[in-house]
Symmetry: C2
Subunit: 435 residues, 2 copies
């Protein structure tokens, strides 16, 4: 864990090093992924079945690639009722917040007489990748599928690897609750390729979302352009701005909740109170003695954790904006006022009773958020990821007379004569007729 | 030019071939671009000056990389007044349509007592790439810069290559009108790298937009993730749905307006009237005899043009949706009703008096649009490209009591104990206090 202080001369250099350390992750799986995609495009289901046998030790046929509705029902029935209730509460809240995001169409006639429009329509079909094994999180299914359903997407096709054939009841229950329309028990780059290009069994989709390992991320990169993809997520991050009036153990748990995700995750405390900072660091060490995921969380805290001592909350706001963190907790009096000064963050958690974990599950806003300082230009997952815009221009003779001549002048200046003539010939026809 | 008819048995195969032909463009400039980006990151301005000397035959210094305000003024003053007026009309209309797009923030307290927010903020800084030479279109400057200005972006940094030092007055005038804040006379992958990573003279930006050649496109791909980019545009396309009540020459000019962009451009006519189709094809041939850009337009029409004969307008709507074209012209009676049935198109031009060229210059909606069938999932440039969302959750003890237990249950089910504890420890504290 690094300790920085804005009062020290070395601060700018230390802080710059902290920022630079969150750069892009290089992968060296380009070629194997290229080969897998080519195989799926060439041999479809057959290749998909071959890869699944090899990587997941699971023998499938074209008939069993898709998990049957009865199988989904049977697995979902294994989930304890209190967990199903928790999933349903989360789903209701996520759905409600995303419904509130739905944008309005535009359609108006302006003073030149042109009728301009902007219409939002849903994608026809999306693919949702869900990692298998330990990283198969039902909350991720809700967070990826529900915005698509709220947006109005007709087909939501999910792929989840099932090594050795083992199904995850909670993931299947989450898929059912979220309106996923079909589930395939395949994973890896081969699943991404199947979703992008289609096979006999899996019709192609228009956009692929959801987290995955390096192969999945590289496959999404390679199919991008043919279909849409979401952003490639880096390691998770939290910045916590806290004053000395917080319970140190609670802040330590919030830091560790981020650190336990991944050894590369980053948890940063910014505080004006040096004594409090020391208490939090001590509390982190104490919690690490008993935390089940202490190996991961400890590594993350040691390698990527940081405590930044600031002289005042103005400095804290400036640094939070420069860090442009995925998650920002504001554990202060007047937390709302502080949050209003933040321009760059994926999501903000406001107040001492609002740990980030609330947002991971039951807050309502999406937990798929921009990492690695990309909150400077990127946003969390939302209904906008499943909608696209079509603009329109309608005009009769009057509108064309008003704006056409300027169009002709600009087209000629750009040397695009057919452009100019397509307008000018209509204006000439109007002139003839009005003579 | 291909002729297809839905009445023929071969139609589905022919149409599938037409769709497949618009696949991605492969480039082989990955390695040279990687080298250029590495050089710019290592040597900054010095490398930028070296590349500009080599590629653009232009000797620059750190002082002359940026075009001085007086130079911009002097060049813009060379533009004829009627062209300046045309640019200003276009700018006013583009600005007005994009202002109408600006989204609303969300901020509400729900029935569980949590206050949820979604706040749109502008990017701090964007880079606008403008190609040099013949493809330096002032209309593109307006279409890329104005949405950024409307969104509230503070810095709009433009790079334009100036081979042999030649400046383009109309491009500089368009930049001035659109609120571009700084202009650098550099281009190619080196300009993209400088915008992404910054040099001593060019501060880094958060997102890079604008068209460019294969080197520029590849450079944008490579810096993606570190900064945002717009989509990589393929060749331009139009689909024109027209009945026999149109003037054949006007439709021919509309087809050629698309074809003259690029030998890879595609112009497609869909009509239920075989005789009219023949008249349009003849008119295209006639116009090609005198069109200044006949070499390009003729090649495009021969290689990529198509005329599709349909039995009725229902078929036309279905095919238009399958083509998911960048531009769609609807030259029909009841054109509005037909347009309402289109789910996939970048932009629609409605009515016999609304050629696509109106939208290239003075319509108001953006002319930077999704190509190569990506309108299935992508949208044209807009204020949304220059805004990002930060969500927020605020809660006090009551809200946490309502949603916290479900969060604890889900976190435990996912094996993320510190997540569960960060909520559970707060709930325990509340219980103690209320005893």
């Amino acid at each position: 864990m690094k300790r920085l202080s804005t009062a020290e001369a070395a601060f700018e250099a230390d802080f710059a090093a902290l920022l630079a350390a969150r750069g892009g992750i290089e992968t060296s799986v380009t070629e194997p992924v290229r080969a897998i995609i080519a195989e799926i495009r060439a041999r479809g289901d057959t290749a998909l079945i071959d890869y699944t046998a090899r990587f997941d030790r699971l023998a499938l046929t074209a008939e069993t690639l898709r998990i049957a509705p009865e199988e989904i029902e049977a697995e979902a029935a294994k989930v304890p009722p209190e967990l199903l209730d928790a999933l349903r509460l989360a789903a209701t809240r996520i759905e409600s917040f995303h419904r509130a995001q739905m944008p309005q169409d535009l359609h108006y006639t302006d003073d030149a007489g042109l009728t301009l429009g902007l219409r939002w329509t849903a994608l026809d079909a999306v693919g949702l990748y869900v990692p298998g094994g330990k990283a198969a999180y039902p909350s991720s299914v809700l967070m990826n599928a529900l915005p698509a359903r709220v947006a109005g997407v007709g087909r939501i096709a999910m792929c989840v690897p099932c090594p050795d054939g083992v199904l995850n009841p909670l993931v299947l229950a989450a898929a059912k609750i979220s309106g996923v329309t079909e589930i395939y028990r395949v994973g890896g780059a081969q699943a991404v390729a199947a979703l992008a290009y289609g096979t006999t069994t899996i019709p192609p989709v228009d956009r692929i979302v959801g987290p995955g390992n390096a192969y999945v991320a590289e496959a999404k990169r390679q199919v991008f352009g043919h279909v849409g993809i979401d952003s490639i997520a880096g390691p998770s991050e939290v910045v916590i701005v806290a004053d000395g009036r917080n319970e140190p153990r609670l802040v330590a748990l919030d830091l560790l909740a981020q650190a336990e995700h991944d050894e590369l995750a980053q948890a940063v405390l910014i505080t004006p109170d040096a004594s409090f900072a020391g208490q939090v660091v001590a509390a982190v060490a104490r919690e690490l003695e008993t935390l089940p995921r202490a190996a991961i969380a400890g590594r993350s805290w040691a390698d990527h954790g940081a405590v930044i001592l600031v002289r005042d909350l103005d400095e804290a706001a400036t640094l939070a904006n420069r860090l442009a963190s995925e998650h920002l907790e504001v554990l202060l009096d007047n937390a709302e006022a502080f949050a209003a000064r933040i321009r760059h963050a994926g999501a903000i958690f406001i107040g001492r009773w609002c740990p980030e974990a609330v947002g991971d599950y039951v807050g309502g806003p999406n937990h798929v958020l921009p990492t690695s300082r990309t909150a400077r230009f990127a946003s969390g997952l939302s209904v906008f990821d499943f909608l696209k815009r079509t603009t329109s221009i309608a005009t009769g003779p009057d509108g064309l007379r008003r704006v056409g001549p300027a169009g002709v002048a600009l087209a000629e200046a750009e040397g695009l004569n057919a452009h100019a003539m397509s307008i000018a010939a209509r204006l000439a026809l109007l002139n003839e007729r009005s003579v």
